[in-house]
């Protein structure tokens, strides 16, 4: 299976990186740019019999390692490959 994990700075938590990119896009002249958030995109190949098992594993991975519960939210997608 291939699992895609999306980690984003939690709402309300300062995201300096997002603000910097936002500023830069605006000064590059892009119109209508609103808020920008910068997070991590993690692709994990995992060999499990079922999607369900992959999902349980990935949830644990996120809670233990991939995301920082203090300041980040995550979601993930499991797509069989």
């Amino acid at each position: 299976m291939r699992v895609k994990v999306f980690v984003t700075p939690r709402q309300g938590i300062l995201d300096p990186q997002g603000r910097a990119v936002e500023g830069s896009l605006k000064s590059l002249g892009f119109k209508g740019v609103g808020s920008v958030r910068v997070g991590r995109y993690i692709v994990v190949d995992i060999d499990t019999p079922s999607k369900a098992e992959a999902a349980t594993a990935v949830k644990q991975m996120c809670d233990q390692l991939l995301a920082n519960p203090n300041i980040e939210d995550y979601r993930f997608e499991v797509d069989a490959e």
Binding site: P16, Q17, A20, V21, S24, S27, L28, V38
Partner: protein, 229 residues
């Protein structure tokens, strides 16, 4: 000759470069502001180390769009001398004024240390004061100094002698241990194919006074001065 040191928001070693050039080497050097487009008649432009724009997104990715970078690109196109140190090197790569890119150190952590680099091409405006094969002891301090480039480009750069500096051990050999950040082929500094733009991760401006740990960095600046004569 005249020097211009560019100050970006988040530049940190700009003052140190200026100090090395003015106070230590008695050069005529001025600070340039990233929002200006004028290079104030500089014969050599220095892009200093630091964390321009906090190194957010990618090191150098945002600074590359500063107004002054237009002028720097034009200056380089006209054959002017440009040297990028650490963050300056990253900016030059992001601006495509130098080939390749700089990624997270292999160890994933910031490294501050003195290391050896070997001068592999001493025929350039940035290295002519050194002997080919000469070993310079210089400090590095970076978290993203791992040099990468597509294999075909690398081959070409090697052929043309664009690799000016490599990390080596005390015996002058490229070894894995002597490569602090995992750079391809132990590359520490590269020039463009016209040899008027040079980027390096080590900090020559922090190696110009014996009391502060060594003066090998002078070789780089002396080379540039020599060429200007």
């Amino acid at each position: 000759m005249k020097w211009g040191v560019v100050r970006f928001p988040g530049s940190l070693d700009d003052g140190d470069a200026l100090h090395a050039l003015r106070e230590v080497m008695g050069q005529d050097a001025a600070m340039l502001w990233h929002k200006d487009e004028s290079l104030a008649g500089a014969d050599c432009v220095v892009l200093p180390g630091g964390f321009s724009y906090g190194d957010y997104l990618r090191c150098g990715a945002i600074a590359r769009f500063s107004p002054i970078m237009k002028s720097v690109a034009q200056f380089a196109a006209d054959g002017g001398l440009v040297i990028g140190i650490c963050n300056g090197f990253q900016i030059l790569c992001e601006a495509h004024l130098l080939p390749g890119a700089l990624m997270r150190n292999r160890s994933l952590s910031f490294i501050c240390d003195f290391i050896n680099v070997r001068v592999d091409n001493a025929q350039t405006p940035f290295t002519r004061a050194a002997r080919a094969g000469e070993i310079l002891r210089l400090p590095i301090k970076h978290g993203e100094g791992c040099y990468v480039a597509p294999p075909e480009d690398l081959a070409q750069m090697e052929e043309r002698g664009q690799v000016l500096l490599r990390y080596v051990n005390d015996a002058g050999a490229e070894t894995d241990d002597a490569n602090p950040n995992g750079s391809m082929r132990s590359i520490a500094g590269v020039a463009n194919d016209r040899f008027n733009v040079f980027g390096l991760m080590p900090h020559p401006e922090h190696a110009v006074e014996k009391m502060l740990g060594g003066a090998d960095g002078l070789k780089i600046f002396e080379s540039i001065i020599e060429g200007a004569r």
